[in-house]
């Protein structure tokens, strides 16, 4: 049930496959729900040239772990995985991966969404957009 912070790009599908192979018992899980949040293009009519994610080392890991624990308590799950990028991020880079393994699909879907919603509202990450001359902090999370 790891909650990992990564400073370099990661492949969410390979991570999922590897984690599953290493940690999940074959034949025990029937449902795997996952979500990947990916960096979209900057170029939508303004001058953003880069994006950086700052975090609070220690508290971040602690909160991602807490959110997994809560999901495991709230639903009957087999395992959870969260991976989150920090540092300088480029368009098309995966930013976050959440995966839930369970016996049945209802629990997997609900818990996977819960992980994302809780992560966005509680884990201490902050986005900063790089501009032509300087930068600006992103003040609000996008809805949905």
């Amino acid at each position: 049930m790891p909650a990992d912070i990564r400073t370099a790009p990661f492949d969410p599908w390979q991570e999922t496959q590897q984690y599953q192979q290493a940690h999940l018992e074959a034949g025990k899980y029937g449902a795997t729900a996952s979500f990947v949040g990916t960096m979209r293009d900057f170029n939508q009519g303004d001058d953003v040239t880069s994006m950086t994610l700052e975090h609070y080392p220690g508290m971040t890991e602690s909160y991602l772990g807490k959110i997994c624990d809560e999901a495991m308590q709230r639903w009957e799950l087999i395992d959870c995985l969260i991976i989150h990028r920090v540092g300088e991020i480029h368009p098309n880079d995966p930013i976050v991966l959440t995966v839930v393994w369970s016996a049945h699909r209802k629990e997997a879907f609900e818990a996977c969404r819960y992980l994302m919603e809780e992560l966005k509202s509680r884990a201490p990450f902050w986005k900063k957009e790089g501009l032509e001359n300087g930068h600006r902090w992103v003040d609000k999370n996008t809805p949905g």
Binding site: G37, T38, M39, R40, F42, Q44, V48, M51, L53, E54, H55, Y56, G58, M59, S62, Y63, H84, I89, I95, V96, M116, L119, K120, S121, R122, A123, P124, F125, W126, K127, K128, W137, V138, D139, K140, N141, T142
Partner: protein, 79 residues
């Protein structure tokens, strides 16, 4: 002993420092006042003591790590 105060993201830049060590503080609010170079605490500031979210009136004891930061913006990025 001492109290460590940390500022993150926009607050760190506005206050001009990320880490401050105080000799003492009774509450989170008083830690802010001592460490923030006179800046008022923005309404939406989030506070943590030892990496747990707390209210700004929470008590602080010797050895605590107090952190202040803006609303969080993790997860995906869509403009």
């Amino acid at each position: 002993m001492s109290i460590t105060v940390k500022f993150f993201a926009r607050l760190r830049e506005q206050i001009g420092q990320g880490d401050v060590t105080l000799s003492s503080a009774d509450t989170v609010q008083s830690a802010w006042e001592q460490a923030s170079n006179g800046m008022a605490m923005p309404d939406n500031t989030l506070c943590a003591v030892n990496m747990e979210y707390v209210d700004k009136n929470a008590t602080v004891v010797d050895g605590d790590e107090v952190a202040f930061f803006p609303p969080v913006t993790g997860g995906s990025y869509a403009r």
